[in-house]
Amino acid sequence: MGQRVAIVGTGQTYHRSSRKDVNGVELIQEATARALEDAGLTRKDIDAVVIGNMDHFEGINYVDMWSIDGNGGLHKPIMKVTTGGTTGTTVAIAAFYHVASGLFDTVLAIGWEKNSESDTTAAIITCADPFWERPTFGGAIAGLATGALGYMHRYGITERDAALISVRDRKNAVKNPYAHLREEITVEDVLNSPMLAYPIKLLDICPRTDGACAVVFASEEKAKHLTDRPAWIHQVSTRHNYTFFTDVDRSGRMPTLYEACMEVYRNAGIKDPLHELDVVEMYTPSSFAGLVWIDALGVCDEGEAVKLVSDGVTEMDGELPINPSGGVISTNCIGATGLIRVAEAAMQVSGKAGEHQVPGAKTALATGFGGCHWSDVLLISSRKPS
């Protein structure tokens, strides 16, 4: 069987809307260097590198090769994985399997994006079927808007309900030095922000960010020499069930997230996620999705998320804090976004989250969203897996 795997170091850039002072490779290097430093390692200690982003966002083919000066992989095995918004979590999962396989002991996972270098919506539109979907598709914002409207209709939630998610995440971001948007906002701010694609307004949606994130995964043997606070990977799961946007089953809980969570809980023996999980870093591409998809985490009945949120359950001092980092609504360097969820979840269970630490957090869930309503889920804990 495979070997146990833990996260032993994380690094992020200070995320900004535009980093003209560095090119993409130099941006990646900043995150890589920080992760190595956090793990107490040098480049020479790394056995392999996994990296991901979206080609058409920066117009670079073979990003794994292009980034070698900054990704630490010179004369080492490098692999590129990419799955859209889920890329960051996909990178983390690939790094996990690298180590679990026993072929590598210390693996660097890197996600990055420099959204300032192109028109993000134009690039995202190219993920749709070129003939049947691209002409109408208005990118992530418009796609999420059609979803949001469906949620309003089905569950009776309002724009005001959704705004609570933006308000919560932006409040949390104030305590995260790496977050991109670090000013608190109110529900009124959200409701009064410019309408982008009905019902999604500027403050309901994630920003465009330049940034990178790197995470060091290590085998048990290596981890024990590197840290006394490893963040163990217990379970990972992925579901990519759809091919066309119009195939997505919208009749119940967000299906791929729900399926992936259920697989993770089943394999981990988790029966009551609301109480057994201590913190969630959730990929919330819009406030509406961030609200409604809470039910897909299996922590409440279908359609009950709004109650959970308005009761404060997902606040920093609630039963299950969601997005202490400020989440995607505060920072969105797309290829890194999922990996930041994993890094932040690891920081929480290792007690390294500083001012946005959830006290005593032991078990964390990180999720990724992307592609055609696809999901990734990772379960991370300070307890060593049995």
């Binding site: 069987m1 495979g2 090119n23 979206m54 080609d55 058409h56 966002f57 920066e58 117009g59 670079i60 083919n61 073979y62 794994d64 090769m65 292009w66 980034s67 070698i68 000066d69 992989g73 010179l74 004369h75 080492k76 095995p77 490098i78 692999m79 590129k80 994985v81 990419t82 799955t83 859209g84 996909t90 999962i93 690939a94 996990f96 399997y97 690298h98 679990a100 396989s101 026993g102 072929l103 690039a123 995202i124 190219t126 993920c127 079927d129 070129p130 990972v236 799961s237 992925t238 579901r239 990519h240 069930n241 759809y242 091919t243 399926e259 992307g370 592609g371 055609c372």
Partner: protein
């Protein structure tokens, strides 16, 4: 390393243009063939790795086009953007992790849909190199000249690769360009970018390939003779072309060393019975043969002249006809693994290497073979 086997393979015929078929159609064809080959159903597959490239496919998240066709519904799945040998590497690791028993790895590409010059120009440094107009052909020409001049390899020796491999392709029903040509034909073919001529270069191709990897306990129960993974390794070199000595296949030497160590191979030329090498251009078969340690540096020209790499030689290289006879980018590395599987099963028909027990499959990634992946397989 725990024993993992290849239990099923499927390939399309490689063609210049499959204009009637979508990526999903190609993927469904080869996945169906691979499952049939193994004698199992999609329900016996517990995870999937797809391989595609967003530039070649003209689509961000290119894997979205094949999710249904690769049988990933309800399964754990991921996508490698790189050569198929790297995708298969990930598929193997997923089994070794203990989480899965069988990985389906499938790669697709349609070179006919995009512009080769524009897409491969986008491999180069956007700040310093693209503006000079490099693409896959001209950059490889820089490497070819450097290699030939440093080690005294001749154009005629490179041409022998084209002659040998296109001839081998005559016996491979999947190959795209199969023909009996002479060194003179190659030498007289149109100069593309000195010293690379038309018949030194691989074609633009459409196609797909799938393989199924499985744990030992499953491999022993399926329809086919298992082909075992004995050693693997991959590595990458520097990026900017000017950072490398293009005559030195540094990354390949490292990748091969790892694979040989794992497989317990000390004398590759003697111990390996058949090899499928990524010859995107004729010179590459020679340069990579040296990187793989089949001969000393600079001696690959002599090696091919000696006939050692011909079908009847000591170490036949590219019995399938190689990449020079069909080059669906990304798919090509997986097709090398598929061909070695065919050879080790003894299913090579007219192109069977007699008594092949140990085979090597090789893939490359990035400009001028910046990264390499080496597989040692055994029957």
């Amino acid at each position: 390393m725990e024993r993992v086997a290849i239990i099923g393979i499927g390939q399309t015929k490689y063609e210049r243009s499959k204009r009637g078929e979508t990526f999903a159609d190609l993927v469904f064809e080869v996945v169906t063939k691979a499952l049939e080959d193994a004698g199992i159903g999609i329900e016996d597959i517990d995870n999937v790795v797809t391989v595609s490239n967003d530039f070649w496919d003209g689509r961000t998240i290119s894997s979205m086009a094949v999710t249904d066709a690769c049988g990933a519904y309800g399964k754990n799945v991921s996508t490698v953007e790189g050569d198929g040998t790297f995708g298969a590497f990930y598929g193997l690791m997923r089994i070794l992790s203990g989480s899965f028993r069988s990985t389906l790895v499938v790669a697709h590409c349609k070179g006919s849909e995009g512009s080769n010059h524009l897409i491969t120009n986008a491999m180069f440094n956007p700040i310093y190199e693209r503006i000079i107009g490099l693409d896959s052909i001209s950059s490889s020409a820089l490497q070819a000249r450097r290699y030939m001049e440093k080690y005294g390899v001749t154009e005629e020796q490179c041409a022998l690769v084209s002659v040998k491999n296109h001839r081998n392709a005559l016996k491979n029903p999947f190959a795209q360009i199969a023909m009996d040509i002479t060194v003179q034909d190659v030498m007289r073919s149109t100069m593309l970018s000195d010293p690379i001529k038309l018949l030194d270069a691989s074609p633009i191709s459409d196609g797909a390939c799938a393989i199924i990897l499985a744990k030992e306990e499953m491999a022993k129960k399926v329809a086919t003779k298992p082909v075992w993974v004995k050693g693997i390794g991959h590595s990458a070199d520097a990026y900017n072309l000017g950072d490398r000595d293009l005559a030195e296949p540094e990354a390949l030497i490292r990748a091969a060393k790892k694979a040989y160590q794992m497989a317990g191979i000390q004398e590759p030329f003697r111990e390996i019975d058949v090899a499928e090498i990524y010859d995107a251009f004729s010179y590459q078969e020679l340069l990579w043969s040296e990187g793989l340690g089949f001969c000393e540096r600079g001696e690959a020209g002599g090696l091919i002249e000696s006939g050692a790499t011909d079908m009847g030689g000591d170490l036949p290289i590219n019995p399938s006809g190689g990449v020079i006879s069909a080059h669906p980018v990304l798919v090509a590395g997986l097709a090398r693994i598929a061909e070695i599987t065919i050879q080790l099963r003894g299913d090579g028909n007219g192109r069977q290497v007699d008594g092949a027990k140990v085979g090597l499959a090789h893939g490359i990634n990035g400009p001028c073979g910046q990264a390499h992946c080496v597989w040692i397989l055994e029957k």
